[in-house]
Each structure stands twice: as structure tokens, then as C-alpha cells.
């Protein structure tokens, strides 16, 4: 597996698109929520100050929410590019001719997805920790790691988005179509489907759609505070229950990988 990952690294370390995406992700990760300091001068009444963004323990929520968008856009794009560019350069085909089995090729790509998810989680952990340390007066470790399982949820979120991107890339194979469908599904199509679902069946099952459930790992932080209020309006919660999120995420990730595998093995390279 390390050999496969090393080869993937050699393939992409000089790819400008990949470098740009990784650099932007790393730079934006700690800074995107800091922009709130300068932009958000007028705060809604729910917020006493912007410091809630950067203090323990809520920094884990805000940083996670910002990171989930960055992951969806930048790392999702990266996975799509990593797969579809090799189809269009015909290097996927050449890799197989050169000696990879199809299984090895698939494992190499899956290995990259898992590695990226781990690294982005590490980055999330470090950037949240540093932000919190600088902004929380009198912080200590027990307070810092008070927000339980944030890193696990971040990892599941990342794996969820990236394996979904992998599935889409396997389905369409061409860069343009894959990117269009990935972003269109995540941003437009699923919210519409969810809306239609809710129109006919207005209960918590409408929250089980994959992008929604995966997003719930790192939800919009205000949903947590407003959940009680929303409950009185629609007699079910905006967010999936924690156990549903964990189990659902794992099921979706496994499903995306399995379907990718079936598609990959079925199609000629």
C-alpha cells in the first residue's frame, strides 16, 4: 500500500491543479473563520461577540463547519481531478498496461482518499487547537478537548464527501461532467430531492439523504442551538441523531466505495 501511495505522490506532486488545491485548503483552513473578525461587525442577537467562533469548545464546531465546506469544494475537486485527469491523459490505461492490476489501481486511489482524509483531519485538529489556545482566556486541556469526537466526525465528513466524489468520477469518467454533477448534486439537486421528499413525507427520514447526513457530521453550528426551537415548529429535528450520523456515514462511505469498485471493475480501462 505504501508503494502505491508513493507512486501516486510521484504522479501528482508536480501537478499545478493539485498543488493549488492543497495550498488553498491548507491556507484557508485556519484563516477562513478569522475573516469573521473583520467582516462580521454587526452580530445577530444570538451572539454576544465573534469570540464564540474561536474559543474552546465552540471553535471545534465553527472550524469544523468551515472545514467541511473547504473539504467539499477543494478536496472533492482534487479527488475528481485526480481520477478523471488520468482517464483523459490515458495514463490510467497505461498504468494497467505497465503492470498494475485493476485492483491495485483502485486501491491506490482509495488509499489517497483515506490519506487525504487523515491529513485534513490532522490539519483541522491543529488549526482548531491553535485558534482556541490563542483566543480562550485561561484555557486548559480539559476544556480544549471538551468537544468530544470532533476529529472522528471531521474524518467521517471528509471520507463521506471524498468517496462520493470518487463514485461520481467513476460514474462519468470525464472531468467536466463529473465536476458538474458533483457540485450540482451536493448544492442543488439533493436539496430539491430532500424538499420533494419532505413535501410527501414530512418526518426525519428526509434528513437521511447522503450529502445532508454527511454534512451533519459538521453541521452549521447555529442548528445545534436552534434545534430546540425548530423542533417546536416541525415536530422533528433539523439534525440527525448522533448515532444516526455515525452509522449512516459509515454505511454511505462503504456504499460509495463498493459502488465505485463495481463500476471500476465493470468498465474497460
Amino acid at each position: 500500500m505504501l508503494q502505491l501511495l508513493k507512486t501516486e505522490y510521484l504522479k501528482f506532486k508536480n501537478n499545478n491543479t493539485i498543488i493549488l488545491l492543497v495550498v488553498l485548503y491548507i491556507l484557508l483552513m485556519p484563516f477562513v473563520i478569522l475573516t469573521g473578525k473583520s467582516i462580521l461587525t454587526d452580530l445577530p442577537p444570538a451572539f454576544p461577540s465573534t469570540s464564540v467562533f474561536y474559543e474552546f469548545p465552540t471553535v471545534w464546531d465553527y472550524q469544523g463547519y468551515a472545514g467541511s465546506w473547504l473539504t467539499f469544494f477543494f478536496l472533492g475537486f482534487l479527488v475528481l481531478h485526480m481520477f478523471t485527469s488520468e482517464v483523459s491523459y490515458k495514463t490510467m490505461r497505461q498504468n494497467i498496461i505497465t503492470g498494475y492490476t485493476k485492483k491495485e489501481y483502485f486501491l491506490a486511489k482509495l488509499g489517497v482518499i483515506i490519506t487525504i482524509s487523515i491529513l485534513s483531519t490532522v490539519l483541522y485538529f491543529i488549526s482548531s487547537l491553535v485558534l482556541g489556545m490563542f483566543h480562550t482566556p485561561g484555557w486548559d486541556w480539559s476544556l480544549a478537548i471538551d468537544n468530544n469526537y470532533a476529529c472522528l466526525r471531521y474524518f467521517l465528513m471528509s471520507m463521506g464527501y471524498l468517496t462520493f466524489a470518487f463514485l461520481i468520477a467513476n460514474l462519468f469518467r470525464t472531468g467536466g461532467l463529473s465536476m458538474f454533477f458533483y457540485f450540482a448534486y451536493g448544492l442543488v439537486l439533493e436539496p430539491i430531492i430532500k424538499g420533494i421528499h419532505g413535501y410527501f413525507l414530512r418526518n426525519s427520514s428526509m434528513n437521511l439523504w447522503p450529502m445532508n447526513l454527511i454534512e451533519d457530521n459538521m453541521p452549521f453550528p447555529l442548528f445545534k442551538t436552534s434545534n430546540e426551537f425548530i423542533k417546536t415548529q416541525s415536530d422533528f429535528e433539523m439534525l440527525n441523531a448522533t448515532s444516526t450520523i455515525y452509522i449512516g456515514s459509515i454505511i454511505y462511505i462503504a456504499l460509495f466505495i463498493y459502488l465505485s469498485w463495481l463500476l471500476f471493475m465493470k468498465k474497460d480501462v
Binding site: Q3, K6, L10, Q94, T98, G99, T101
Partner: protein
């Protein structure tokens, strides 16, 4: 030793049968030319035996099965076009081939010298001309000391200079003792390099065997005279001359084995025909190929 056995290989694309029960064997150390018109099934055949296309029926076996599904590690191959990472240079691209082939002791420098790319080894692949890309692809097939090399139209789309360079490289590869399978339109090249040929059309094997056995022993004769009509009549009267094709200036015909151009000259002279042109030569693979594929 048997390197590759292909047994009744058939490939259907919907209603189109691209390969029709193709059977052949490749012996170790031989140089095979795979010939056929465009769309005859050459690339489909190579795609299937390299495991990137799935056949509809039939089977094939590499190296008597001793490497299992990892047989490609022992084969260097290019199919259709040279495929590399456009943003990487020659060295980096070859490094990736090394990684995949688990071969780390190749002399990349001398490989690049062999294909005359050494001076451009730091240039990105996307900046290469088609000829340079083909040459890099040939260098890539040499990585990991493969037992078999496969070239699919290695001179396609090249200019005369590029063709000459690739031809020189192919000669060197062929001399190195490896088993070579080469699909090509350049029948002159195949005739010079290959020890064996297989001729495919519409997915069917039309002829296969050593080059010598494919070329029949008839001699091609070119004759001309100011009195071309009379010359034509004379040739038609001879039963050891056949396949007469004439135009206003020149007659081309086939002479069966055992006769010589001298006889023609004498017969013509005695009939009062003065020849202005008389050339006899062995039949070329190209003529054989056209005859086989047109029947």
C-alpha cells in the same frame, strides 16, 4: 518456449464482431509482425491480451501462466498513442513506470540516450513533438527488463525523419533478443525486422507463419517497350506469366519460379520487340499483404 497462446479469441462490440475466433501462438525470441488494414482488429487483439479490454469469448495465456495475473510486469507495451503525464518530464515519467514495474535499477540515462532524448530529459512531456513522445514510449517499454515488448503502430503520424529514428531504435530492440510483437502498416519495416507475420482482416486470421513462408517465390517483373500492345500480347501467351497489370508505359506481372528475366528478353527480341525497361525482383511483403487481404 511458448510465450503467448491465443485461443479462439472473439470480441463483439454490439453487433460488430471485431475479432472472430482468433488463434495464434507466439514463440520466445521471435519478432512478430501483426499486419492488417485499419479496423482489422489489431489493437483490439493487443488490448485484450494486455488485459485492458475484456473478450466476449475465447482465452489467452501468457508465459504458460507462471506469473498469473501479474504477467504485465514482464511485458513492455505501448498501445495506440504514447500515454504519459504531460506535466512531468521524461525522467519523472520513466520513474513512475519504474515504480509500477518494481524495477529500480534501470539505467535511465542510457535508455534516454538510446532513444535520443537525453538532451531533452528535463522538458515536460507536453512540450515534446510526436516523434519524441513515441521515442519516450519505446524507452518506457524497456524498463524492468521485460521478456516481451509490444508496439502498436510505433511510427504512426511521424515525419520521415521520425520514422527513420524509430526504425533504428526498433532494429536495436529486435537485436536484443527479446520477443517482439509489432502491429504496423510499414510493411517494408516488418519485412526487414520481423521473423514472423500474422495477417488479420475483419478480425479473422488470414495467414500466419515465418516471413519466408508468407512470401511466395514468384518473381515480380516490370517490363516496358515502345510497342507496349505487342509486348502485352506476348506476355499473355506465356503460361508462366500471370497477374499482368499494364498501363500506357509499363507492364507489371508475376513470373513463376524457375524462369528468369533473360527468357523474357530473348523472347521479346525474337518477336521484334525492343524492351526499354526490364526489372525483376522478389515479391515484397506489401504485394503479398495486398493480395491476401483483397481476396
Amino acid at each position: 518456449m511458448n510465450v503467448l497462446k491465443i485461443n479462439n479469441l472473439t470480441k463483439d462490440y454490439g453487433k460488430l464482431r471485431a475479432l472472430d475466433h482468433l488463434t495464434m501462438e507466439i514463440e520466445s525470441g521471435n519478432i512478430y509482425g501483426l499486419l492488417g488494414p485499419n479496423g482489422s482488429g489489431k489493437t483490439t487483439t493487443l488490448g485484450i491480451i494486455l488485459g485492458i479490454l475484456s473478450q466476449s469469448s475465447g482465452d489467452f495465456e501468457w508465459f504458460s501462466g507462471q506469473y498469473g495475473e501479474k504477467y504485465r510486469m514482464k511485458i513492455g507495451a505501448i498501445l495506440e498513442t504514447p500515454n504519459f503525464y504531460p506535466y512531468l518530464n521524461a525522467e519523472q515519467n520513466l520513474n513512475i513506470v519504474q515504480q509500477i514495474k518494481h524495477s529500480y535499477n534501470d539505467d535511465i540515462e542510457s535508455l534516454l540516450k538510446m532513444v535520443n532524448l537525453h538532451h531533452r530529459k528535463q522538458s515536460k512531456f507536453r512540450a515534446y513533438s510526436l516523434g519524441m513522445k513515441q521515442r519516450l514510449a519505446i524507452a518506457a517499454t524497456m524498463i524492468g527488463q521485460p521478456e516481451v515488448v509490444i508496439f502498436d503502430e510505433p511510427t504512426n503520424g511521424l515525419d520521415p525523419e521520425g520514422i527513420a529514428e524509430v526504425r533504428n531504435i526498433l532494429h536495436r530492440v529486435a537485436d536484443s533478443g527479446k520477443t517482439v510483437i509489432m502491429a504496423s502498416h510499414l510493411l517494408d519495416e516488418v519485412e526487414k525486422i520481423c521473423s514472423h507475420v500474422a495477417i488479420i482482416k475483419n478480425g479473422k486470421m488470414l495467414a500466419t507463419g515465418p516471413v519466408g513462408s508468407i512470401l511466395n517465390n514468384d518473381i515480380t517483373l516490370e517490363v516496358a517497350s515502345e510497342n507496349i500492345g505487342q509486348l502485352n500480347d506476348l506476355l499473355l501467351s506465356l503460361n508462366w506469366i500471370h497477374s499482368i497489370k499494364s498501363n500506357n508505359h509499363l507492364i507489371e506481372c508475376q513470373m513463376t519460379e524457375g524462369h528468369s528475366s533473360r527468357e523474357i528478353n530473348a523472347l521479346a527480341y525474337n518477336s521484334g520487340i525492343i524492351l526499354t525497361h526490364l526489372v525483376s525482383r522478389k515479391r515484397k511483403l506489401e504485394e503479398e499483404f495486398l493480395q491476401i487481404t483483397q481476396n
